[in-house]
């Protein structure tokens, strides 16, 4: 169980430490590598690997959004793929009618995601723990079946997107490299935004509510509102990822909202380390590279993948980022170590505990 008594102190202390944490170096290294990726793949003449990197970035954004509510807010959403779908359909449906302008599609993606998050959040956030997991799944299934039933937009078959979003003079997304940089820029902005939010007073209330909601309410915070706001923000970020995904794949179908996709996003967050700023990027990269690498071996690759998943959960807690952090901590002897704060968050199902 988490230790609510030392919570806000340890959080502040962690924030102070984070600014000196060498983990930021790893992050800087990762982003530098990512910034050079197009040059690298261009030099190797392997455009497919640019696609792979683009996919990693887009899913990292979605994972960052899930990390915001899951890692910092303790809200395990099992329906996060719904926003990917909404964002992607916000490209596809206007394109179906010949409207390609990003100035129209992007606000639509963000607005529709926010609306969906707001409406479903009003209901879901009343529940806790596993009921929350299941109700978010239920809403994702509803929108999945809703799109399956809309014949006009292809139903189960999906829609092919002829042209990517037109960005005016800013960028030409038809170019793989420019789309890649659009995704990278989005990821940097999102990572920065999540960091700012988490470090703000808002983020402190959020984390307080995660660890002991009753106490935060007793302190006079309307935690429901905080959590709802956070939920809507996360929905919009995932909607942005969906918008990029729709542009990237040039194709959308309800399959994008499948519940297994939501499961994969959770896996990315946990693999990277829930509640850490760079975890989603590491998690998404590890996930996609692993999938690509294993599926090249044999059609039986899910076996290895499943075993790795089980072993990671059983023996390797805290994710990749936690490993970095542990490495960092051994080099510094100052400050009380607080391993529990680096572990994937327990859901606060039993307030009586």
């Amino acid at each position: 169980m988490a230790r609510p008594d030392s919570d806000s102190d340890s959080t502040r202390a962690r924030l102070r430490r984070a600014s000196r944490n060498p983990r930021t170096l790893a992050g800087a290294f990762a982003f530098a590598l990512l910034a050079m990726a197009p040059a690298l793949t261009g030099w190797l003449d392997e455009p497919f690997y640019l696609d792979l990197a683009t996919r990693i970035l887009i899913l990292a954004i979605a994972a960052a959004s899930l990390n915001l509510i899951l890692g910092y807010g303790g809200m395990i959403s099992f329906g996060h793929s719904a926003y990917l779908g909404i964002g992607a359909y916000a490209v596809g449906i206007p394109a179906y009618y010949g409207e390609y302008s990003a100035a129209f599609q992007l606000p639509l993606a963000l607005g529709a995601s926010a609306l969906f998050a707001f409406v479903t959040g009003l209901v879901s956030l009343r529940t806790r723990g596993v009921y929350f997991i299941m109700i978010t799944l239920a809403f994702a299934q509803m929108i999945y079946f809703a799109f399956v039933s809309i014949e006009e937009y292809g139903g189960d078959d999906g829609l092919v997107i002829d042209l990517r979003s037109e960005m005016g003079g800013i960028a030409d997304l038809e170019s793989g490299v420019q789309l890649y940089y659009a995704a990278l820029t989005s990821l940097v902005l999102v990572t920065y935004l999540v960091r700012r939010v988490v470090r703000s007073r808002f983020g402190l209330v959020l984390r307080g509510s995660r660890d002991n909601d009753g106490r935060m309410q007793a302190l006079g915070f309307n935690t429901f509102r905080y959590r709802l706001a956070c939920y809507v923000l996360a929905g919009m970020i995932a909607g942005l990822a969906g918008w990029l995904l729709g542009n990237f794949t040039n194709f959308i179908s309800p399959e994008m909202m499948d519940w297994t996709r939501s499961g994969e996003l959770i896996f990315m967050v946990v693999l990277g380390g829930a509640g850490s700023a760079l975890g989603p990027l590491f998690g998404a990269a590890a996930f996609i590279l692993l999938e690509e690498f294993l599926s090249g071996f044999s059609i039986y690759w899910p076996l290895g993948f499943g075993l790795i998943l089980i072993l990671v959960v059983l023996f390797y807690r805290g994710g990749l980022d936690g490993l970095l952090d542990r490495g960092a901590r051994t080099t510094r002897s100052t400050g009380p170590s607080n391993p529990s704060s680096r572990e994937p968050e327990r859901c606060s199902t039993d307030p009586a505990a």
């Binding site: 990762a30 455009p47 497919f48 139903g155 189960d156 999906g158 092919v160 194709f251 179908s253 970095l324």
Partner: protein
């Protein structure tokens, strides 16, 4: 610090390991083949792969003196994955042809990636109406059929059998919709009920509610399209519901050489004698067909399915194009012209191409029967259509 470095290094190594693939030889005909190798539908992909491997064996692994390399990719029954694999084939593997495609929705999703890259796209099964009509393309060819054609032939058969009231069932995806549209186009009687059931990875396989509706509808016949594993599930339940003696069953792409051994093993005799339409049959009397069917049976101990037949044809079809240009794979125009001529020995016998590059071919009525060894297979009863062209060709501006 050391750990952090290890991880960073690990990730970099991973990226680099992916980047350095074995070097690619230039003097090769590279064919990407996208099909389904995993999930329950993987059995169809296996049949197609077996047929392609057999065809490559039969041509000695060469086309116009060049080595042939086939790259199989698994679409996992998902349009999105299929498109990713098509992207990989044209961008990373730099194939000359992308063929395969069981599912109409996977083909529709992958179309743009292949055609935009300036490669030939050859469907070895799926025939969605869009690609026959508005989305037709000079570099797209089919060695199968347009989805509507086979059920149109079945509609004709139903008329000849004097069926007045028909109950229709099909999965709710691109091909299912085409199949239903096809039978409705030619069937002269009344469609008294129609169910479009959930398809895809989580397809509906229990048809209790639909069969009860069919029984109550007072139909004279049931028409279904359930490819792959859904087909045998449907036939079992049709028998369990006691409809065999009440409402005769007419199928397209449901009872095939993949489902028949399963049904025989399960002892579901109700399927014997059931009727279907198809452009090909294992007993069609052409030398190429004899060669294909006997070699396939010898090698794999089972009858090839129509999926296999189309895939076998795909290899010979590509070979005819490569040989027409003497192995000069840069000569797209030359290869295109050769393909449009359909000048190769097809297992279905000679056929031609329409303006939309879909076959103009015969359709036969087939019946399930036992062969001399007691295996269940299908026999041709009669020819329903001779030289039939699909209904979307006029929408194709080519």
């Amino acid at each position: 610090m050391r750990n952090k470095l290890a991880i960073a290094l690990g990730l970099t190594t991973c990226l680099l390991a992916l980047a350095f693939h074995p070097a690619q030889g230039a003097d090769k005909v590279k064919i990407g083949f996208v099909t389904t190798l995993t999930t329950g539908a993987g059995v169809i992909g296996r049949d197609m792969k077996d047929a392609v491997d057999l065809a490559v064996e039969h041509i000695g692994g060469k086309m116009a003196g060049l080595d042939v390399e086939i790259l199989y990719e698994d679409d996992g029954f998902k349009p999105e994955i299929g498109k990713q694999k098509a992207d990989k084939l044209v961008k990373s593997d730099d194939v000359d042809f992308v063929a395969g495609f069981i599912w109409s929705h996977v083909l529709l999703a992958s179309r743009k990636s292949v055609l935009d890259a300036g490669k030939f796209l050859i469907s070895s099964n799926a025939g969605p109406s869009q690609l026959a009509g508005k989305l037709c393309h000079e570099n797209f060819f089919s060695t199968s059929w347009q989805n509507d054609q086979t059920p149109m032939a079945m509609g004709e058969v139903l008329n000849r059998k004097g069926v007045n009231k028909l109950y229709v069932m099909a999965p709710n995806y691109a091909a299912g919709k085409n199949m239903v549209a096809g039978v409705e186009r030619t069937f002269a009687g009344e469609v008294v009920g129609k169910d479009m059931t959930k398809w895809g990875k989580d397809a509906q396989l229990d048809f209790s509610a639909e069969l009860a509706k069919a029984r109550a509808s007072g139909a004279d016949a049931i028409f279904v399209f359930y490819p792959g594993r859904a087909g045998s599930a449907f036939i079992k339940q049709y028998e369990q519901a006691g409809l065999v003696d009440e409402i005769p069953l007419y199928t397209v792409f449901t009872v095939d050489s993949i489902s028949l051994p399963l049904l025989q093993k399960a002892g579901l005799k109700g399927v014997l004698g059931s009727l279907m339409t198809q452009f090909w049959a294992p007993d069609l009397d052409f030398p190429q067909n004899h060669k294909f069917v006997s070699a396939f049976r010898e090698k794999h101990g089972r009858y090839p399915s129509f999926y296999a037949a189309q895939s076998y044809d795909t290899v010979f079809f590509i070979k005819s194009a490569v040989e027409a240009v003497d192995g000069n794979l840069e000569d797209m125009d030359g290869m295109r012209a050769a393909m449009a001529a359909a000048d190769y020995p097809s297992v279905r016998g000679p056929y031609t191409y329409g303006n939309n590059h879909l076959p103009i071919q015969n359709f036969y009525l087939r019946q399930v029967a036992e062969d001399e060894a007691g295996n269940w297979t299908t026999r041709v009863v009669e020819t329903v259509y001779t030289g039939h062209q699909d209904s979307y060709a006029s929408e194709c501006k080519m």
